[in-house]
């Protein structure tokens, strides 16, 4: 039993004063507001920062973003063929990567046995776009058209060299399973203004053509040692959008309502007998479940979207589960106040035949991504929505397997890769950081994944060092013991 429950017990008179069906959203929201039972340990914050809906009593500083949409490009997209333009490499075709560049760094055992590391320049043409003339590959014409909104970071880096540890690392701050994911931290720390939808939503995109893919793991959106209610909820594209959401066949909303009314009455009776405040909380949870049964279908129903909007996201937008559909859903979630949405697009693991495969995958990704930016912008939501694009690492300049004028493959490369952000809190139309001529080492302004995560939290009004949770005697945080906010890119 905790204070939350006691709070509920104290409000039960109010609660039962209305019919179960008629409980106002405001009443429930206040009932459910975890702030009421948050530990009041942290130093008091100026009230101007405003209260959060989670365990943090107040934001640490004024926030620029109210929510984040992370377009997660799982499996490590090739920075070399999309954003990191290396014209000099043309003349290095099939020449060995100089040892001075590799400098003895470790490489995966998939290519560590290769007798040589021949350089594979990108086959794709680059052009300058936007006010600052940022170089973008021909694979991304739509993203190029919104480049003035983006803050492109070319100097991302990580230590992990394989998918499983690397993606676990960027999502949870540790390469070893067991820590909460960023979304779970946010759900715990700042909660959600919308009590009818989860605070952390995960959308999986079906595999697009040209995919070479790896697995995902539920730990990537798991709550680790945080209470399990903070884990990401994966909205599914077939079956129930939220697991177990629909009533079974033969039970309509009215029948469920009647059953729940009976349930509440009997539970209330039990509460009279035993006095356990947990019972009141349980009644409230059932009411929330009932309202989710309406709120979620309404969320995924895109039939009322304007035709022009649908067209912007491209022809696949109407098929549930496509990346295009998920981007649209991400916007709808943002509109409903959901603080953290991650859209996963797998398939960037192009160890071989990259030039043959990546164009289709880029095609599936490019238009919906740009559409999301434009759509948020035209609704005035880009100002307080932070969009993040990127994956767990990059890919090598040298070819894995066959290299000829038609084809090449690229191995994992953690030493530098590209990500971008747009919207709430970051400067639009800038490029941050630089890499060497081989896109092999960061030469300017390195941004570690911990720095990225710290920066995202910063935009949300959170000091990443002060969002902590005591577990096994230690105060854990998302960025472990690292992380520096990248101030230069902030507005």
């Amino acid at each position: 039993m905790n204070l939350h429950d006691i709070a509920l017990a104290h409000t039960r008179r109010y609660f039962f004063g209305q019919t179960a069906a008629g409980i106002g959203a405001a009443a429930l929201a206040s009932l459910m507001n975890p702030r009421l039972f948050a530990d009041d340990q942290a130093a008091p914050q100026p009230a101007a920062m405003g209260p959060s809906h989670g365990a943090l009593p107040n934001f640490h500083h004024a926030r620029k973003a109210k929510r984040v949409i992370w377009l997660f490009m799982a499996d490590g997209p090739s920075q070399l063929d999309m954003f990191d333009y290396k014209p000099k490499m043309e003349e290095f075709f099939d020449k060995d990567l100089p040892d001075s560049v590799r400098n003895g760094q470790r490489i995966t055992t998939m290519t560590s046995g290769q007798s040589r590391f021949p350089i594979a320049p990108s086959k794709f043409k680059f052009q300058q776009h936007g006010a600052n003339g940022t170089w973008i590959s021909e694979l991304l014409p739509q993203i190029a058209s919104v480049i003035d909104e983006l803050c492109l970071i070319k100097s991302m880096h990580t230590e992990a060299i394989n998918h499983d540890p690397a993606i676990t690392y960027i999502q949870t701050g540790s390469q070893i399973p067991g820590r909460p994911s960023m979304g779970a931290w946010l759900s715990y720390g700042i909660g959600s203004p919308n009590a009818d939808l989860p605070a952390y939503v995960v959308l999986h995109s079906r595999l697009a053509a040209g995919s070479q893919t790896q697995a995902l793991f539920s730990r990537l959106w798991g709550s680790g040692f945080l209470p399990s209610k903070h884990q990401g909820v994966a909205l599914r594209s077939s079956g129930d959008p939220v697991l177990y959401l629909s009533n079974p066949p033969g039970v309509d909303a009215e029948t469920r309502r009647k059953m729940l009314d009976g349930l509440a009455e009997l539970n209330k009776e039990k509460h009279e007998q035993i006095g356990d405040p947990e019972i009141v909380s349980r009644i409230a949870q059932y009411e929330m479940a009932f309202r989710m049964q309406t709120a979620v279908p309404e969320l995924v129903d895109i039939t009322k979207e304007e035709q022009s909007v649908l067209e912007m996201y491209g022809p696949e937008v109407k098929q549930p589960g496509t990346y295009a559909y998920n981007c649209l859903l991400a916007r709808r979630l943002a509109e409903r106040g959901v603080p953290f949405t991650q859209v996963f697009l797998r398939g960037w693991d192009h160890h071989g035949s990259l030039p043959q495969n990546i164009p289709q995958l880029c095609k599936a990704m490019d238009q919906p991504t740009a559409a999301l930016i434009k759509d948020l912008k035209q609704r005035g939501m880009l100002e307080d929505t932070l969009v993040v694009w990127g994956g767990e690492f990059g890919r090598t300049i040298y070819s894995q397997g066959t290299l000829n004028k038609d084809t090449y493959g690229r191995d994992h490369h953690p030493r530098n890769f590209c990500m971008w952000m747009a919207g709430g809190g970051v400067k639009p139309g800038i490029v941050h950081g630089e890499t060497d001529d081989f896109s092999y080492n960061v030469t300017e302004k390195p941004v570690h994944i911990h720095d990225l995560n710290a920066t995202i939290l910063h935009c949300l009004g959170i000091n990443h060092e002060q969002l902590t949770y005591r577990f096994q005697g230690r105060d854990f945080r998302l960025t472990d013991v690292e992380g520096n906010v990248v101030k230069e890119i902030l507005t």
């Binding site: 204070l3 017990a9 130093a43 793991f217 399990s228 033969g250 009997l266 509460h271 049964q293």
Partner: protein
């Protein structure tokens, strides 16, 4: 505002029960250490590298010594002279402790405690949990009491100090339900409740406990908790997350609990069963505990790094599960709060440096070492087959010798010529070893006027890109220079495809040829071997032979193909035989002449023969010595010579058949991963910042100084480690175990942080009681059932869990045990309870994991293509209704209904589950097929056993679920709800029927659907009742 002030008031009260009154002297461990640990040790603690200003506050010497600055932090008895006090009271931000950037802040109460402690003499104590538990004298109680159980005396003494009284005893119905859930994980039957109510003897409850402790359900229930700590799962947990064979370990745990194996032995066997002299098979299986860690076989992984992770995981699991310590903190640096150095961490790690399991699990079911565990009958069968096999092989060998003696090289038989012949690789059956994927739908000859070869063809119809294929054929198809791949195809003229494609796998699928439109996006560059356009679609409505030069699809001579895919865009496409036009001998192509075969092999760019034959062939014939010639001849006669094949055909078949039987039997044996040590352990080093490739000082296996040392005569290996863990004077092991037991029954442990008994953990609410229980366990031969019985027999356990507003004020979290436990049952118990109440539960102890209902698409959404746990295939029949501890645990995507109710993912050791209350949980209980089906059967049971009227039936159902008879209001309410549902379903029979169709098991009761549906909805309601899902 009003509610907030109430909350604040309550928050103050919440702290009070454990706080000391002003009269008592402060106790360092209880009152002071937690403050120092949380606010100061980070910079002034045990970790030498992070120590600021030369000050350490975790020891008396450190706290009272004169510092570099000249100040003294603690002057015992003189708080005003103590720099510590000056600094914590300072208003100057540059002096104030803790510094602002630490994010830590002392409350006024904490400041007062520190000052008072120094005033009282600043006495230090060693950390409580590192001092072996002793039997404390029973405290004296003020009031006379009937308490006879020492547990109650400790609890009452504590209550007296807080001026509280224990709650009255729970009523008998509540009591038997509580005990039955606690000991078996399931509720009591009404008959059991009745018998207990009728038994007026003083021993009535004791009899119930004795009965329950003998139930095999007890072991299953206990095992479930243990498996959380052991991080048991049915898959490897990383990357592919393929299936793992280790369920016999789970069976071991269940049986060990059921036979009440002494806990010290139980731990010893799990930690080091393999090292016990003359270890039994069962003791080896027990070591699966240390093989439950997650493993990988991800391409590109670096072995040394992965091995470090495995060993670290083992140390962390041991420390959480048995020591209640968070040693993981010392992987990278000295522990900040507990006296464990980084070096000592690696000394513990060294106990696992001899582990024989490899870094890469190979994605196999049984990465070695493992143990097969045949039954005696199976062993006999195996032996018999083995004898038979040897005999058959001997006969064959003799016949071969005879052939060899008779062999004369007949000279070239013109088999090897320029002429290529069709080698049909795929026809009515797939090549050996092939693993079929996608839909292989066969039609017989009869569906066509004629087919190119054999009796069967395979066909597929689809929209968009569809395909069926296989990989893993062994022996592979051997491609020769200038060979052609072929396949026969028939395109339906009524439903033609846009495109047909064949793809070949030589390790990758980047070898494709297609005919028709460019509608299949695989490897799309039309100029490449990965996407070779061959021309227009073949003619519709007739069999056409498709041919592709192997080299054109990137398969030059010497390539080996192990997989073939038949792919199409739209339409209906039928395929028949496929293979290779070749002169390369495939399995089935024969030679009669040794010389000719030799010449052929030497003509190949690369021969694929095994060593040493491969080398001999490469040697010029005249340079081969006699032994080599003999070897080559033997190889040829054994493996290639066509007459051998024909002569030995019958014998070969016999050998193969027996061998297959033997393999089949062998594969069907239960097998389990075990621990084994290599003869020579790997060297162990301190890893700087925990990085696998930054080796520091070399270390040997040893116990951290603060925790004692290996017992006299114990070896410095896992066995010694296990002997140390189970030493009767070990300060932690028994405390940690009894605390978890307490947590199991009371919802919260005596040490709330069951996973952390270190300086950052919670101080025990009843330290003497914890010690008493711990000594009681150890001194009675680690007899677990005895201890459990004594806990359940205590008045403390038997208290009513009714909460009053006064109790909420005085003991809000029940830390003082002023009432009985009341909390939501765990995920597994919820499901087991529903199955039990409905009569669907299949009780069968042990065996392989099962796959009950799970919403479609959950594994597929995240799974790795090529993982053998990519596709979830639900079981049928009784496997849907086993107890939940047998539910298949895929660690990257665990059973979703369990996850909703706070089950851990089993990727790492967990000894305390969260207990949340969420809307997603409500959805599971309301809508999960498992629970809806259970509701229907529960309804049938009410009807069949609950008398004639709706009201008696509903009351019976209520009683089944809660063990008690509903009161009048409740009974009336149930009837009213039933009648409402009945009225609705009578108007909508279709809906009723639909509800009754949920689940695999058919309704057995002849009844109006509307009536049964109405009962089902009430059953659904009862299964969702707070009281049903709660142990109280």
């Amino acid at each position: 505002m009003r509610s907030i002030s109430i909350l604040l008031a309550l928050a103050m009260v919440e702290i009070s029960p454990l706080a000391t009154s002003a009269a008592d002297k402060l106790n360092f461990n209880r009152d002071v250490r937690p403050i120092l640990s949380d606010k100061c040790f980070r910079c002034h603690g045990f970790d030498e590298n992070k120590r600021e200003g030369g000050l350490r506050l975790d020891t008396a010497e450190g706290g009272t010594q004169k510092l570099e600055s000249g100040a003294t932090a603690i002057v015992p008895g003189k708080s005003d002279q103590s720099a510590l006090v000056q600094r914590i009271l300072s208003e100057d931000a540059s002096l104030k402790m803790p510094p602002e950037d630490s994010g830590k802040k002392l409350s006024a109460a904490e400041t007062t405690i520190l000052r008072r402690w120094i005033e009282e003499g600043a006495e230090y104590q060693g950390h409580w949990s590192f001092i072996a538990p002793v039997r404390h004298e029973l405290p004296k109680l003020n009031q006379s009491t009937t308490a006879t159980n020492p547990i109650d005396v400790f609890v009452l003494a504590r209550l007296e100090r807080a001026n509280l009284k224990p709650a009255p005893s729970a009523d008998k119905t509540t009591l038997i339900r509580r005990a039955t859930f606690d000991l078996t994980g399931l509720p009591p039957l009404p008959a059991e409740v009745d018998a207990f109510l009728a038994d007026q003897s003083p021993e009535a409850f004791e009899k119930v406990i004795d009965r329950l402790l003998l139930s095999p359900r007890y072991g299953e229930h206990m095992a479930r908790y243990w498996l959380d700590a052991a991080r048991y799962g049915d898959t490897h947990g990383l990357h592919l997350d393929n299936e793992r064979g280790i369920y016999p370990y789970r069976d071991y745990v269940i049986s060990a609990f059921n036979e009440n194996m002494p806990v010290n032995q139980f731990i010893l066997e799990q930690m080091a069963g393999d090292l016990i002299p003359n270890a039994t098979q069962r003791q080896k299986i027990a070591t699966g505990f240390n093989r439950c860690n997650v493993t990988t076989s991800e391409g590109g992984s670096i072995n040394d790094e992965v091995l470090v992770r495995y060993a670290v995981d083992r140390v962390e699991t041991m420390s959480t599960a048995f020591l209640g310590l968070t040693l993981g903190c010392a992987v990278c640096h000295d522990h900040k709060y507990d006296p464990i150095t980084q070096k000592e961490f690696y000394q513990l790690y060294a106990f696992f440096s001899a582990s024989a399991d490899a870094a890469m699990d190979g994605n196999t079911l049984l990465p070695p070492p493992f143990l097969k565990t045949p039954t005696p009958e199976q062993e006999e069968q195996l032996a018999a087959l083995d004898t038979k096999l040897k005999e058959a092989e001997k006969t064959r060998e003799e016949r071969l010798k005879q052939l060899a003696a008779e062999y004369v090289d007949p000279g070239p038989q013109n088999v090897v010529s320029d002429e290529r012949k069709d080698f049909v690789w795929i026809d009515d059956a797939l090549p050996t070893g092939a693993k079929a994927e996608g839909e292989w739908k066969y039609l017989t000859k009869g569906d066509f006027a004629d087919i190119p070869s054999g009796e069967k063809v395979h066909t597929q119809t689809g929209v968009g890109t569809v395909q069926h294929f296989f990989t893993g054929a062994n022996p592979p198809l051997l491609i020769g220079d200038e060979d052609k791949l072929f396949g026969y195809v028939y395109l339906d003229s009524k439903n033609p495809p846009k495109t047909v494609m064949m793809q070949w796998n030589n390790g990758s699928w980047e070898h494709r040829a297609f005919w028709g439109e460019d509608a299949i996006p695989f490897g799309s560059d039309p100029t490449s071997a990965a996407h070779r356009h061959m021309g227009p679609l073949p003619e519709l409505g007739k069999w056409v032979r498709l041919e592709v030069a192997a080299a054109d699809v990137g398969l030059p001579g010497g390539s080996q193909v192990n997989g073939w895919a038949f792919t199409q865009a739209d339409g209906t496409v039928t395929w028949d035989s496929a293979g290779l036009q070749t002169r390369t001998p495939q399995q089935g192509l024969q030679f009669e002449s040794l010389a000719e075969w030799d010449t052929y092999q030497r003509s190949l760019k690369e021969n694929k023969l095994p060593q040493p034959v491969q080398g001999i062939v490469k040697t010029e014939p005249d340079k081969r010595n006699e032994a080599q010639q003999q070897q080559l001849r033997e190889y040829f006669l054994k493996n290639v010579y066509s007459k051998t094949k024909s002569t030995l055909q019958g014998l070969d078949a016999e050998v193969a058949e027996i061998a297959k039987k033997k393999t089949d039997l062998d594969n069907s044996l239960p097998a389990s991963l075990i621990m084994q040590d290599m003869p020579k352990p790997r060297d162990t080093f301190v890893l700087i910042r925990g990085q696998y490739d930054k080796k520091g000082e070399q270390v040997q296996a040893a116990i951290p100084a603060a925790l004692g040392k290996l017992p006299e005569g114990a070896p410095a290996n896992r066995l010694g480690l296990a002997q140390w863990l189970t030493d009767p004077q070990h300060p932690l092991t028994s405390r940690v175990l009894v605390n978890r037991l307490w947590q199991q029954y009371f919802g919260v442990g005596l040490v709330k942080t069951a996973e952390d008994f270190g300086a950052q953990g919670e101080w025990p609410t009843h330290p003497e009681l914890l010690d008493y229980l711990s000594r009681d366990l150890v001194d009675n031969n680690w007899d677990l059932k005895r201890l459990i019985k004594s806990i359940l027999m205590s008045t403390t356990y038997q208290q009513s869990s009714r909460v009053t507003p006064e109790l909420l004020q005085s003991d809000p979290q029940n830390e003082l045990l002023s009432r009985g436990p009341r909390f939501r049952i765990d995920a597994e118990m919820l499901r087991d309870n529903a199955l039990f109440l409905s009569g669907l539960l299949t009780e069968k102890v042990g065996g392989k994991s099962v796959k009950p209902y799970q919403p479609a698409g959950i594994w597929e959404a995240v799974g790795f293509q090529g993982s053998n746990t990519l596709n979830f295939k639900q079981d049928q029949g009784e496997s849907l209704y086993r107890r939940s501890l047998y539910t298949y645990w895929k660690r990257t995507s665990p059973p979703p209904s369990m996850m909703s109710f706070d089950a851990p993912s089993r990727e790492s050791c967990v000894v305390r589950r969260a207990r949340t209350n969420t809307p997603l949980q409500a959805l599971v209980l309301m809508n999960d097929t498992q629970f809806i089906e259970a509701a229907r059967f529960f309804a049938q049971k009410m009807i069949a056993e609950g008398g004639e009227s709706a009201s008696t039936r509903l009351q019976y159902g209520f009683r089944l679920a809660t063990s008690r008879t509903p009161n009048e209001r409740e009974a009336a309410l149930l009837t009213r709800i039933y009648e409402t549902h009945l009225a609705d379903y009578s108007k909508n029979q279709e809906a009723a029927k639909k509800l009754l169709e949920v689940g695999e098991s058919k309704t057995t009761l002849p009844m109006e659907p509307s009536e049964l549906a109405a009962y089902t909805m009430v059953a659904n309601l009862i299964l969702n009742l707070d009281e049903t899902v709660t142990k109280e």
